[in-house]
Symmetry: C2
Subunit: 309 residues, 2 copies
């Protein structure tokens, strides 16, 4: 889906609306003036952070936070701020993953990566600062008046992003690539649940936390987020195997020649597609208790499985 | 001060006691088993984080947190956890600052830096994960039962560490070194207040937050932390100019040949020493309202100015 195409579904309309709101709040957060408790913001660092965060992404993660909260009847600026904090963590991970010592990518969404547009040291600091700002946003009372909610958001975000979640998943991924031993399906599923799944799952959970969900509502939304997160990564592997560089705006086909931990390498393309579709169906089913209000999130699961970029 | 020498003062006794407690809690935090909300912890990542965090540092920052809280009558495991969160941020900053793209250091306290002992990608992820774990620890109710306190700790730590604090200071420092224009005293003081001062100041403030300090107590402790932080960095510059590599366990004299933003380059060695001593005196004076209980923190200010490593 490109930004200029006319929205076809409620899901696409909502996704574009959330992306606009998220870009506006990220633009406000990434200002040049110091916030209270800060001393000064270096213009070059702010510019590099903006390059990494204001790049026309689809904003799937903040969409999930906003829609999960909306399903529970909660909307507004606080929800959007929590959604932006999740997106800041996603953006930091892209900036660091693109570094020469990691995946060494020159392009991201058709633009130079942060270390190509600036330099490596600036990209490391920009990633560090995007991550730090995410926790700043979650802990700020502008996000939620109840400190219990803010502390729960910080803790959940940290557990999803750190050594036992996203960062740990990237570590497993690098180790898998360096290894010559074929990866088991179980290893790959765990790796993907950490590297991509944990933050997608938490994006949904953040909406539940902000909205004060019941235990049962939270369990259903988390089951949805977990299945959607798994479907997302399998779809990504399939896209990498099938798409052109032009369509994706980044290097593709790079998984095939390496001992990359993808489900396609482990179970083949057709079995991977079947798993992707089963996970998308599972995500939709997890929300059946919410009735018609869950349609937009259910469409999001279908989109995640069927997306072309 | 080496770990084997007999303590000479109450300050040294307390510093060593806090360092032992901090090492024990960091050891517990950096375990191989996943915490609730995590999926799995890669052994290599945990090992790299332990290399970066359990390295026999003096633990000045956690000491400041613990002693500030103790001055207000609060001690125990929660305070120590908050102190460890501050130390985790310090350790992350060392791991990333040592990277080839940044200061390119091979040694840290006489040991190989994390990217030398492991590799660059692992060091980037270890730094990211130490930073993320710091916010995890602050937000966890094991640190304080009151969520208001936990959210305030997270927010203060983020503001001290991010683009308007420590990370921003490192950005200014890299820019200053790349520039051929001599740096003004004002620029250097701002840079140092951000790069080193902000986290030292917050280490003290964290103790005030955990202990539920009054507004006036907080103001006095923050004034102390600010002066001590400034004294610390000037003392560091003086040490770099005067010490041997063997004494410090890292490269020295590297500031002189470059357009490095140090006060010595701007105002000369003798004026820098006078400023260091004035700041140390100012830090001690800031605590005069606390009476005899503040002696250990006042000794810490004298030690910071007079330290040989």
């Amino acid at each position: 889906m490109s930004d200029t195409s006319a929205p076809q579904t409620t899901f696409e309309t909502r996704l574009q609306a959330v992306a606009r709101d998220v870009a506006a709040i990220l633009d406000e957060l990434l200002h040049d003036n110091a916030s209270p408790g800060e001393i000064a913001r270096p213009a070059r660092l702010v510019a590099a952070m903006r390059h990494g965060a204001l790049n026309g992404g689809k904003r799937l993660r903040p969409f999930l936070t906003v829609e999960a909260a909306r399903l529970l009847g909660v909307e507004g600026r606080g929800v959007l701020r929590a959604a932006c904090a999740v997106e800041l963590v996603h953006c930091y991970s892209l900036v660091h993953d693109d570094l020469p010592a990691m995946d060494d990518d020159d392009l991201r969404r058709g633009q130079p990566t942060v270390h190509r547009a600036y330099d490596e040291a600036t990209a490391i600091l920009a990633g560090d600062s995007l991550l730090t700002l995410a926790f700043d946003v979650m802990a700020d009372e502008a996000t939620h008046p109840d400190a219990q909610v803010r502390a729960a958001l910080v803790l959940g975000l940290a557990r999803a992003s750190g050594l036992g979640g996203m960062a740990g998943g990237q570590m497993f991924d690098l180790a898998a690539e360096a290894s010559t031993v074929p990866h088991t399906v179980e290893e790959i599923i765990r790796l993907q649940a950490m590297k991509t799944g944990a933050l997608l799952r938490f994006a949904v959970e953040a909406g539940a936390i902000v909205a004060g969900a019941t235990r049962e509502q939270t369990a259903q939304l988390v089951a949805y987020g977990e299945a959607l997160g798994a479907a997302f990564q399998v779809a990504d592997d399939i896209l990498d195997a099938e798409s052109s560089e032009e369509e994706l705006g980044k290097k593709v086909g790079k998984d095939a020649g390496r001992n990359k931990a993808t489900l396609i390498n482990a179970i083949g393309l057709e079995a991977a597609k079947a798993r992707r579709d089963a996970l998308a169906a599972q995500a939709q089913e997890a929300l059946s208790g919410f009735g018609a209000g869950a349609q937009v999130l259910q469409e999001a699961a279908r989109f995640t499985a069927a997306r072309r970029s």
